[in-house]
Amino acid sequence: MLSTNDYHSDYPNHWCPGCGNFGILDAMKSALAGLGLSPEKILIVSGIGQAAKTPHFLQCNCFHSLHGRALPIATGAKIANHHMTVLVSTGDGDCYGEGGNHFMHAIRRNIDVTVLAHNNGVYGLTKGQASPTSMEGMQTKMQPGGVIVGAFNPLAVALSLGAGFVARGFSGEGDQLSNLIQAGIRHRGFALIDILQPCVSFNRVNTHKWYKDRVVPIEENHNETDLIAALRLALGTDDRIPTGIYHRMESPSYTDRIDKLKDKPLTDHRYRPELLKALLND
């Protein structure tokens, strides 16, 4: 049996006291332990931002890449060795801003990775500018008159692109989040878990209390396979923010669709000169 201690990293943490990331990190550890996935079986790919530092703070294989580029890195790695469990640790700026195009196309590919999008509605690492998910009207040093553009709705976008697993968690609801992460990893295909979290340093609007007052678990009678019902939840009609699994529907993942990956991963093939000789003599 694995415990959360098995993922403990001695590397000193960089986050602000009270950051929502701590709750997410704890939920990740308990989810991984719960699934029995030991550190050497896991690859966590991240971009740039506070969320992207996460893989330094736990035991795992890690590719801490460039701002916005975690998904293509994860896609290439998964194609090379689809036996790896690949998680992407990213933020709202990283995934929905700089990496927006990659986000759309990773969903289309249905690449089997689990995306944990730490969504705090603000840029932390660069000290407080608006992010794609900042609420309209939110004032920052860079947007002193308030944000004048509408917020990006990651769940609605993911659903409309055909994502097979779309969920929303909250950093303050650790047990639920751990379960969502487990379900996301078990899902064969692209899984998005958008995780709401406060930013204690830069987001004065969406505080822990603000979220606490609004998050509600999705009603038990919600049909996870009903895309339209999921979209209705994602688009929202009132102040409540439903948490849980919006939509879950499996279809063959990218690597499942490639015949030559059926036997073994690309990494496990050996160079065979006769194959090239046949092509050269053709």
Binding site: I42, L43, K53, N61, G76, P273, L279
Partner: protein, 568 residues
């Protein structure tokens, strides 16, 4: 007798001109002749003006010529545009439809390609008719062409093959009452080598380098490389993905390489610009990747379907800060093959990115390559397997004398692999420690001494000459032909060709260049980029430069004329 004949076939995009070129090239190649085909086309799918130019010889040919002996005009513009290039006594084959509107300064022969094609079954066979008439006038035996048609169309339905043979026959018949001044008796011997374009040679080289993954975003003129890879990927463990953009393409390649397979992407300058960010990521994470930049004129969109050699300084310096990399620029299809395989090997061995500079001319032109394309018997892996002494204490960026750290793969053993685009410590964790930063920069650059030893010296022809022409990349063939033309005119001239460009072969080039009184760089750019590099790296100043940057490949004749003017 010596055969050196140039035939131009021109028309609108969509008229099947490339097919004519391929059929004629295959016929010449099968007969044991040397042939090369330049593809000149516009960035459009229909209309405009496209042409292919065949150079057919009984001696090796590696570059284009300006003089034409035959022009096959499938439209009016072809004749108007190319008649100045026709040698005296040259022949024009023109379609009946346009005959009235053409000036008649040359010997011409009207062939109603479309009408004849319809008789054979369909007007789309006009290109086979044109190929037939041209080959008949050159003196090619019909059965030779017929066999080429059979091997070209044997994969498709029989009816189409029969129609093509009929069209070819009509094409031959149309030539019966005409003669071509330079026709020669075709003594059919065995083919002299492989008929191959640069793009296919790169694809073969990638497989010889054990490439398992490629991601790309379509961009002329690089797409041909990926198309060849796709065509060959059925039987080999190679996965190819069309990415959403070049940024994704290079990052997918980096991800796959990190996970443990050899991987490459191919693009042109614009795509390479987008990949510059990823190039730096590969460098700081020490992930081996291969990027092919098939150059075209720019900046920005430039001339999408044309050729240039203007990205040398760019790729040597691309991406912020400094890091070691390999840069190669093959000059022939065989060099493209061997350099590509080497790029994979060296990139993995040194854990650095490798860049291959191709260009539209080399990529899209067909050549007869006499060298043997051999599949290597083995491919060495440079990754650390599960037998690491202390996997629990594994450090991806452990300091070593060589600068090369043992490279374990993620999820392939107990060692945890952490890589990071921030400056990092030996474990791969973010660091801002000044001493560690110094040590990591030094570690990356420590590789350069051994990388230099892998750089092959430039090849010299006619060493000991008074003056030298210096070329890189695809200018090799034209430069060497120019050297021979100049020598025939009693100019004591030799040639130097550089393929391995970075780390720069300073010592080898200094030794060569310090011995001559004058040297001239020959390049397809505006600012003599290799000339500048030579001056920067060796202190040797080029006498002058022969430069061309209008997007069309330089011929030996152009180089010879320019050198003679400069020497005067």
């Amino acid at each position: 007798m010596t055969v050196d004949i140039s035939v131009l076939i021109g028309g609108e995009a969509g008229q099947g001109i490339q097919t004519i070129g391929l059929l004629m090239a295959r016929t010449c190649h099968r007969a044991g002749l040397y042939v090369m085909v330049i593809n000149d086309f516009e960035s459009r799918i229909r209309g405009g003006h496209s042409f292919i130019q065949l150079r057919i010889s009984d001696r090796p040919v590696h570059g284009p010529t300006r003089k034409l002996h035959m022009v096959v005009a499938l439209d009016e513009r072809t004749y108007g545009l190319h008649q100045p290039e026709l040698t005296e006594g040259g022949l024009v084959l023109i379609s009946k439809d346009h005959a009235d509107t053409m000036a008649q300064h040359h010997r011409y022969k009207m062939v109603d390609f479309g009408g004849v094609a319809k008789k054979a079954g369909s007007s789309i066979l006009a290109n086979t008719v044109a190929a037939g008439t041209s080959l008949a006038l050159l003196g090619a035996p019909f059965d030779l062409f017929e066999n080429i048609l059979k091997s070209t169309f044997n994969q498709v339905e029989e009816k189409r093959l029969a129609q093509n043979i009929q069209a070819a026959q009509y094409g031959y018949t149309a030539a019966e009452d005409e003669t071509f001044k330079w026709s020669w008796p075709w003594a059919v011997t065995s083919p002299k080598g492989r008929l191959v374009d640069g793009a296919q040679a790169v694809a073969f080289g990638a497989l010889a380098g054990d490439c398992r993954f490629s991601a790309f975003y379509p961009m002329s003129p690089a797409t041909g490389i990926i198309q060849h890879l796709v065509d060959m990927a059925q039987t080999v463990p190679l996965v190819i993905e069309q990415a959403e953009d070049e940024i994704a393409a290079v990052n997918m390649v980096i991800g796959a390489a990190f996970a443990g397979v050899r991987a490459m992407t191919a693009t042109s300058g614009g795509g390479f610009s987008l990949m510059s960010e990823g190039l730096g990521l590969a460098a700081i994470t020490e992930t081996p990747i291969v990027i092919v930049n098939a150059q075209r004129p720019g900046p920005a969109t430039g001339l999408p379907t044309r050729t240039a050699q203007a990205d040398l300084q760019f790729v040597i310096h691309a991406s912020q800060d400094e890091f070691p990399r390999f840069v190669f620029a093959p000059g022939t299809p065989f060099e493209a093959f061997s350099v590509t395989a080497r790029a994979f090997e060296l990139s993995e061995r040194f854990q650095v990115p490798a860049i291959i500079l191709m260009d539209q001319y080399l990529n899209d032109s067909l050549f007869v390559a006499e060298e043997s394309f051999e599949a290597p018997e083995t491919v060495t892996s440079y990754t650390a397997a599960d037998d690491l002494e202390n996997p629990v204490g594994y450090r991806r960026y452990a300091f070593t004398d060589s600068g090369i750290s043992p490279r374990a793969l993620p999820c392939k053993g107990p060692a945890l692999v952490k890589v990071c685009s921030d400056e990092h410590d030996e474990e791969g964790h973010i660091t801002e420690d000044a001493d560690t930063r110094d040590a990591m920069v030094a570690k990356r650059f420590a590789k350069v001494a051994a990388m230099r030893k892998e750089i092959r010296p430039p090849e010299v022809i006619h060493a000991g000459s008074d003056i030298l022409l210096v070329s890189w990349g695809s200018m090799r063939g034209a430069m060497e032909e120019a050297v021979n033309q100049l020598r025939a005119d009693d100019i004591n001239c030799g040639g130097v060709h550089v393929v391995d460009l970075w780390p720069f072969p300073d010592t080898a080039l200094s030794e060569i260049l310090e011995k001559v009184t004058q040297f001239f760089v020959v390049e397809q750019n505006q600012s003599a980029q290799l000339g500048q590099l030579i001056r920067q790296q060796t202190g040797c100043q080029y006498t002058d430069a022969v430069l061309k940057y209008n997007g069309r490949p330089m011929s030996a004749g152009e180089i010879t004329d320019a050198i003679k003017t400069k020497l005067r």
